[in-house]
Amino acid sequence: MTVTEVPTSAGGNPIGFGRMLRKEDARFLRGQGHYIDDMDMPGMLHGAILRSPVAHAYIKSIDTSAAEAHPKVKAVITGATLETLGLAWVPTLSYDTAAVLATDKVRFQGQEVAFVIAEDKYSARDALELIDVEYEILPPVVDAKKALDPGAPVIRTDKEGKTDNHIFDWEAGDEAKCDAAFAKADVIVSQDMLYPRVHPSPMETCGAVALMDKVTGQLTIWCTSQAPHAHRTIYALVAGLPEQKIRVVTNDIGGGFGNKVGIYSGYVLAIVGSIVTGKPVKWVEDRSEHLMSTAFARDYHMHGEIAATKEGKILGVRVNVLADHGCFNGTAQPTKFPAGFFHIFTGSYDYEAAHCKVTGVYTNKAPGGVAYACSFRITEAVYLVERLVDCLADEMKIDPAQLRLQNLLRAEQFPYTTPTGWEYDSGNYGPTLLEAMRIAGYDELRAEQRGRRERRAAGDTSEPLMGIGLSFFTEGVGAGPRKHMDILGLGMADGAELRVHPTGKAQLRLSCISQGQGHQTTFAQIVAQELGIPPEDVEVIQGDTDNTPFGLGTYGSRSTPVSGGAAAIVARRVRDKARVVAAAALECSPDDLEWKLGRWQVKGDPEKGKTIQEIAMLSHSSLELPDGVEGHLDGTCVYNPPNLTYPFGAYICVTDVDPGTGEVKVRRFIAVDDCGPRINPMIVEGQVHGGLADGVGMALMQVIAFDEEGNNLGGSFMDYLLPTSMECPSWELGETITPSPHHPLGVKGVGESATVGSPPAVVNSVLDAIQVRHADMPLTPAQVWRAMQGNPFRTDLAIT
């Protein structure tokens, strides 16, 4: 991959990889984005959802008569209405079922109970208050640790014969081998830790507009979907609608973070509403609805153990997880993996053995679990191992950087198969950690910390405590391969179609969909790189299932690894076709041509050649083409990735902690990412910046806790805190470049790296400052202070 030779376009942009401003930003910055709530159509009606105020209750009766009598209300839909359509319960992405509207019981606070369709959104909301629901309150299951207690209330009484709240048991790795490794260890450290329930909270909440055209039978759904094609197929399978008459359209999305992968009740209700009324029906949830009912993330109670020799060689890791999935098992991950990719928890180190057991349980909480840039639970895995390594360093009084350097996988071990079966494609970890330490000035920081500790020990309390925290992460992103990874039987491979128009301008059609990642730019640059045309001349078309090839969409950092591979290959196919056309025009054999700087030219006679623009016109012209070439300049491809790509990185966080108040200030954050070659370094850096802010948020302030009645304590932005610029330092970024050997461009995914890698660095830093072995996130001032008193609290429950 040489980036140096890249020529530039008339607009000054690189024809290929390199820094350029995002093509989409001029539109976004001028307020010309088109989000779901911007949709308006003649005669459009507005839906609103009545939600359960309680966590667990029988529904004794629902009286909708007063709401129906509201002069502007067109229809009221309840679970009973849906039962007549066979749509009250629908399958989830994890082979469970979920209620679209509650029928028998409500199972979490905020669950959908009824749907009002009215002429305007104000009347729809007003009419919700006119619906009378009689509940018979049941005791809720709030504490996941008590979900399997004998006598715990059974949540899924809808499932025949279900007598407990158990969902699944799952394991990975070799238990016997792991036990053997532990048996010979000199040091074993174990630690309980919670990765609490958090919520991705994209800026735009979820919404949909549905239109069933009674004349043509065509159903169009505009919605906030990270996977429009998968949605279309699922609607066809679930509702029995003919798939050729379903069109899913996703315009701009204001952030997704995995929250918008699944299908929500609101989407289904908008569709049903349009079928019932014959009008377009819009449903857009508000912030509290969004926080309380849509896909949350994490909620893993983990017991981890790490074993090492007295020299500090790590021998093995084992972990038991209690996974709180809420009241329906609706996690959005490759269907074969009930714990997602959690079994990558061996991380970046070399051990003899590893083993994990995961038990999933139902609780009276909203469903979800896989979201928030988690790479299918690699966030939890990285947090676990990076905390355990720090616990081990603390136990053995070894510098945590030293312990990591000693145990990181070495370059010559790649491709490397982990004890739990992952095949890491490429890596060169040591230099990445050393680069982070160099940027940080690691030794100077430790010296500064020692100085502060000495002064404090001598009675000078004027300075805050200082912490230095590291994390080293390995991610696995870019699902498939389709053989191993599917969602409800749909293999995780993605299509691309490229058309070069006669004037040499191109359209690239993709199955993935940008939610702010800059796809218009990155994918145009890929085509530009392969065809030698300016990125300005490449239009990237996404999000409309009638107008793009099939594929599973954008989440799990998969767009560049999968659709990026598809885009490169389809462009190469077009380039190969162009070679034949150029040869015909130049009256030579295709073998006589070589590709140089965006041009097919005659070997040894560079004066004679044709650019893609010239070839595009020739392809559509009256030029006599050789047999087997039909003309026009286009191509298609489906990319089935041979493996995941494995980006990695080393992060260092420096914090100051006020011991009198427990307040944490993130003073510095150094992030060295290796995601292979960077197509647009500016976009990559933007992704890293966002993920680091996420990490600060999760480590220090974000959590959705529940009180003992099952009330959601994070249901608004007053209670669920997102970090602001005030909490974020000026990020210090670095890079190393280790290409993926199997990706056509050598690139790896990066969208989630920083979200995955940064929380343990922040937590390790704070705990290093206060010299406490462990306390659960979020490390709010109260939690830090309590941890210093030796009494941290549980962050998943109400603080008492």
């Binding site: 912030r287 509290s288 302030m701 602001t724 001032p781 603080i799």
Partner: protein, 289 residues
Amino acid sequence: MQIPPPFEYERATSIDHAIALLDRLGPEARLVAGGHSLLPMMKLRLARPEHLIDINDLDMAYVRVEGGEIRIGAMTRHRELLESAVAAEHYAIFGEAERVIADPIVRNRGTVGGSLCQADPSEDLSAVMSALGATVVLRSKNGERTVAAREFHLGPYETAVQPGEIVTEIRVPIRNRTGSAYQKVERRAGDWAIAASGVFVSLDAGTISDCGIGLTAVGVEHFCAPAAEDALRGQAPTEANIVAAAQLAADASNPSSDQRGPADYKRHLANELTARALRRAIARAQGGS
């Protein structure tokens, strides 16, 4: 988007007009100032006024010195108080508190009067005004009356404002050789206080001649800690006296546990923040300002 129930809207053109509207429209009418407390409550359908009387056109936004007092108009925006040179000249506490109230967007609209009338138990300016011994001026068709800040708050979200009354002004006495300070701990910039303490200290010949200690979010009555103040008056501004007074402030608190923190932590903060505020205020008073 969160959507409020239906309401009617009137825009007052003068204080008298606002009072007349309050009289005519009765108890289901509410004044709206910056709207940053009232509108969120309406959108959450926790407040359902039938009429809103908008007082944004009234001439009540000012910070000026008159009669040995700082007079702050009820419609003064947080931002105006934050940036007021007059306020800063006499009391550092105003700037220190305002800087950590909400965020710039809220501060651009939210008002001093609205803050006090909202009487949220975690509200910052209530602690400030209580510490400073301010007076609240109210008007109704029966004329004007004043209420001490420490008697203005009757409980969470409850004030001395009577039906038909509007707060017009807040008055703060100016004191010599006085320092003040505000200390707040929040989970994140823009969040409400986990706990906060604001104080003023006046010095006279090496002793504390007067002081005020206000606390918010920790469940002290009327946002103040009189026992701690009494313990300091007439004493030397020593570290031992500071520590003792801070402990009394913590003793006066009765915080409840919530997602901002457990009660023991908040009580600890009442102590820690009061001590810090006192140290700062004393240093400022000694600095001659």
